[in-house]
Amino acid sequence: MTKFERGQELFEVTVDVTRDTLVRYAGASGDFNPIHYNDSFATSVGLPGVIAHGMATMGLAAGQLVAWLGDPGAVVGYKTRFARPVEVPALEATQLTIRGRVGAPRDESGVMRVDIDVLHEGQKVLLRTQASVRVAK
């Protein structure tokens, strides 16, 4: 049995996001909004440029949570607010830093809350990102 305490750091990973990431996410998810791949379209609707799907960012954070947790089916709840767009340049990669910590220790039902920060260029792009995960007794 592992003892988890509130605030305890669980993981910190930096991942690359490229246009390739967005195209793959569009195909996998079925979300083909052109603001996620077409520069001219994105600027025509007032965005600074092509931005990542919020759900791509949320999904990348979940991927790191699952890598730490070891069981994708143990995530019983997951929520976030999208605070800032992640602009993704045409050629280079941009980086997301994903950090997880204990938000609330395991309760009687065996569920622990993990709070996740996702940072892009030093600023939080997701807010109040919380996952409810089943952990071993």
Binding site: V15, T21, R24, Y25, G27, A28, S29, G30, D31, N33, P34, I35, F41, V45, G46, H53, G54, M55, A56, M58, G59, L60, A62, G63, Q64, L65, V66, A67, G70, D71, P72, G73, V75, V76, G77, Y78, K79, T80, R81, F82, P85, A131
Partner: protein, 157 residues
């Protein structure tokens, strides 16, 4: 894009409380799970190996935690793209998302999604539209509830 629907004030608030019954079933395949996992940087073997999934007690490969967004967004698009919604999708940004699972989604699941418009708030130049997608399996058992809030920006915003 239809210029008639560019202003968020055009978002139809009369649809709050409206429920859209399932218009299709969504069959979950191992290939789609593998594709979605790869696209979200998740290389856990339970997404791609039936043996690894069975070792964790699942009947088939296991979907990533945000996979339910696929059937949920299919149902959302059905509402958002309906002329009666008054929503211009090109001016939509995502504001909030949540998932509550009764059990994980696995390959072989056949899912049905019922969408309910929970709340619409119109302020100055932004309208926020909150929906709830209730996803069930073929036995009518609850699998996941997905709540989503979209922000529809007005012109010049």
């Amino acid at each position: 894009m239809n210029t008639q629907t560019n202003r968020p004030i055009e978002v139809n608030q009369d649809l709050v409380g409206r429920t859209y019954m399932p218009t299709e079933t969504y069959a979950v395949t191992a290939l789609k799970i593998a594709e979605f996992a790869a696209a979200t940087g998740s290389d856990h073997p339970a997404h791609t190996s039936e043996q690894a999934a069975r070792a964790l007690g699942y009947s088939g490969v296991v979907a990533p935690p945000t996979f339910a967004v696929i059937p949920a967004q299919r149902a959302e698009f059905h509402y958002v793209n309906a002329p009666e919604s008054g929503i211009d999708f090109s001016r939509v940004v995502h504001a909030e998302e949540s998932f509550e699972y009764s059990r994980p989604i696995v390959a072989g699941d056949i899912l049905s999604t019922t969408l309910t418009v929970e709340k619409i708030a119109v302020r100055a130049q932004i309208a926020t539209v909150s929906t709830r997608a209730d996803i069930e399996d073929v036995n009518g058992e609850h699998v996941c509830t997905v709540r989503s809030t979209l922000a529809v920006r007005g012109e010049g915003k």
